[in-house]
Symmetry: C2
Subunit: 414 residues, 2 copies
């Protein structure tokens, strides 16, 4: 099937989905959860084939781990649908309905976006997660996963569609592009008229490709060169605990800390303590010239270190003379994801919150909290690092839009 046909099907079904009530949508999600559980054997077999081929091609173990499904991971996907079913439906609410002087009633009604495209790499769980959130928010979804996971994705989507069908709901609420080539990716990026938004999830390279080539609106997600600034007044123990957590609790995620900015006045005392703490996890510290002098074992950073998202046991360190310099450095090199200040100073905390231009700005807490579940959204489809439409963790509400509904009794414009 070509993409225009898929787009037309999705658009058609999205009209139906906009009319579904919360109960029907939850019935669909629970049926999809049951179908995933019932198809566990087929999904695991398909995944086994993907993993075998990936290993034969020499895929790195870390990537293979993201690709691999187990019985409990399939159950986690099914449980994910149940969690989404438990979330409140954002659709249909009319906000701020007001009466204009001419008697017109004008309100903003929350409605689905329509058709959402998701383009991603080798994580088959994205297939299920994306469907769950799109379905609950009344959107049809077209999925384009990576070739490494194609057999897993086909099996997962087949099960979800069977579940929807058994619940009397439209199967085309989810469609998977079975052609994993680049040509179909490019076609998806230019499916204006059918696709209301395209969300890339994955590596910085994938996201850049989508931003540069899409003519449909894109929500840029994910890349996180997150900074922590240790202010002159910081509580050292708090700073060490937060940095240790933000750097090492999980290294491969976008909200992990990649770069430290430290006030020069405390560096001589703080950096040796930091080195010692991070040695527990063999974190390599790459510092500017002075940092290297202040603590043994800190290796020299190059200019490109300041802009690098390592996703590894590596951390860069830059010394500054002032909060101004810290803010300038962070606003220059960060990807606008998450940044934190560790301070006891009220004015500095306030200025950091005001002047750092990122999706999530923290005082005295780990950047690892930038996450839909941690923010209380129940689930997330990604973390937006752009400013348009959605910023930070995107939950159900970020998959909706509004339309103006206007009730009159014959008004014309004078």
């Amino acid at each position: 099937m070509n993409l225009t046909e898929m787009g037309a099907k999705a658009k058609k079904v999205s009209r139906l989905m906009g009319k579904l009530g919360q109960e029907e949508k939850n019935r669909g999600l629970l049926a999809a959860a049951d179908a995933l559980s019932a198809s566990q054997r087929q999904i695991l077999e398909a995944n086994e084939a993907d993993v075998r081929e990936a290993e034969a091609r020499g895929m790195k173990p870390g990537m293979v781990d993201r690709l691999r499904l187990t019985a409990s991971r399939v159950e986690a996907m099914a449980d994910g649908f149940k969690s989404v079913a438990a979330l409140e439906d954002p659709i249909g609410e009319v906000e701020s309905m007001k009466r204009r002087p001419n008697g017109l009633l004008i309100g903003k009604k929350r409605v689905p976006l329509g058709v959402i495209g998701i383009i991603y790499e080798a994580r088959p769980n994205v297939t299920a997660d994306a469907f769950g959130l799109c379905f609950k928010s009344g959107n049809a979804v077209i999925l384009k996963g990576g070739s490494d996971a194609i057999q897993s994705n086909l099996a997962i989507v087949k099960a979800i569609r069977e579940g929807l069908k058994s619940a009397g709901l439209p199967e085309d609420a989810v469609q998977l592009i079975s052609d994993t080539g680049r040509e179909s990716a490019r076609e998806l990026m230019r499916l204006n008229g059918y696709l209301d938004v395209l969300i890339p999830r994955g590596s910085a390279g994938l996201i850049r490709t989508v931003v540069e080539n899409s003519t449909v609106p894109v929500i840029e997600t994910g890349t996180g060169n997150c900074h922590i600034y240790v202010d002159a007044s910081a509580d050292f123990q708090m700073a060490l605990d937060i940095i240790y957590n933000a750097k090492t609790q999980r290294i491969g995620v976008c909200n992990a800390c990649e770069s430290l900015v430290v006030h020069r006045s405390i560096a001589a005392e703080f950096l040796p303590l930091l080195k010692k703490k991070l040695d527990e996890k063999q974190v390599e510290i790459r510092g500017d010239e002075e940092s290297c002098r202040l603590a043994e074992g800190i290796v020299p950073a190059a200019e490109e270190d300041w802009g690098t998202e390592y996703l590894d046991y590596i951390l860069s360190v830059k010394l500054v003379d002032s909060l101004d310099e810290a803010i300038d450095h962070i606003n220059r090199y960060s990807t606008g994801h998450s940044e934190a200040i560790i301070t006891k100073d009220y004015a500095n905390a306030k200025r950091f919150l005001d002047e750092i231009d990122s999706a999530a700005v923290y005082v005295n807490a780990s950047t690892r909290f930038t996450d839909g579940a941690e923010f209380g959204f129940g689930a997330e489809i990604g973390i937006s690092t752009q400013k348009l439409h959605a910023r930070g963790p995107m939950g159900l509400r970020e998959l909706t839009t509004i339309k103006y509904v206007i009730c009159g009794d014959g008004q014309v414009r004078p």
Copy 2:
């Protein structure tokens, strides 16, 4: 100056602007208003030169009228700044600050988008309007107007910058690209890293070019193939008044009605009345086969008429057998701008509001009300016909985004 330098300047100044309070911003707007008035002679002279050259090139009178400034039009721009100064500042509000179970306080703070690009054609008033709204919402703006109005635009921007300077505010809050060539337009569309959003204002062709070539996020505005559906139960007089208003009150605007959908059961009676009413303004009616038979003087429509935004004294008419057919036709051919139903039937009104997929959906009122001032926003920068970020008239709030501010006391993620 090249665009990267302009982008860097804008980005730098946008950091300052995010910190300006409402009083400072209003002072800037009032100073800019005074400067426009004081520079009236220079602006009119520059405009006279633009108009002379445009006429020499054979520009159509309607276009020349849009290009031409008069003393009262310059005063209207200055008054526009005063009106924007009177609007409430959306920046700085923190929405729904909540305490999470771990004690973190998480809130959404409303902040400027940062740097906004506006690309437009030959209307010099857009120069002033765009600056006013961007400035009040704390954004730096880079303007790229059409070559036809370049001398007018240069004079207007010069005056505004002088006004800002006299008020001690950063002149680079507004920059105009003086090179009016296509190459600089393309460069602007790819100014990622500096531009947070690009808003095209003007013809369908301009908007398409921007959507297809931009790598920065775009808000699509304007094109309006607006429909009115006359239901079987419609009050004929109301329908005639609304159609007459929506079609003829101002023909060159995006919220004018371009196409009529009429229930077949009333067509024989209604169409002759419609023809008579629209004859008052010599409106050409292009109808499907049956319409042509039902009223003398209706001329045959071709397939492309259903998708055409005439911006002229022309209206297409399509007959349908049901509300379903009307909704399908409208959702297929409309540009998602504004559509209205004329009906006495509650269920049909409700279904139309629910199922029409447009920015503004009306019951028993003219589509001409889709406008920032009419909606009570005070002013607008354009009307979005896309679903991402903003839909319908865009006021100050639509030129903002949020960031999450998180206050902790040492929280780390378990």
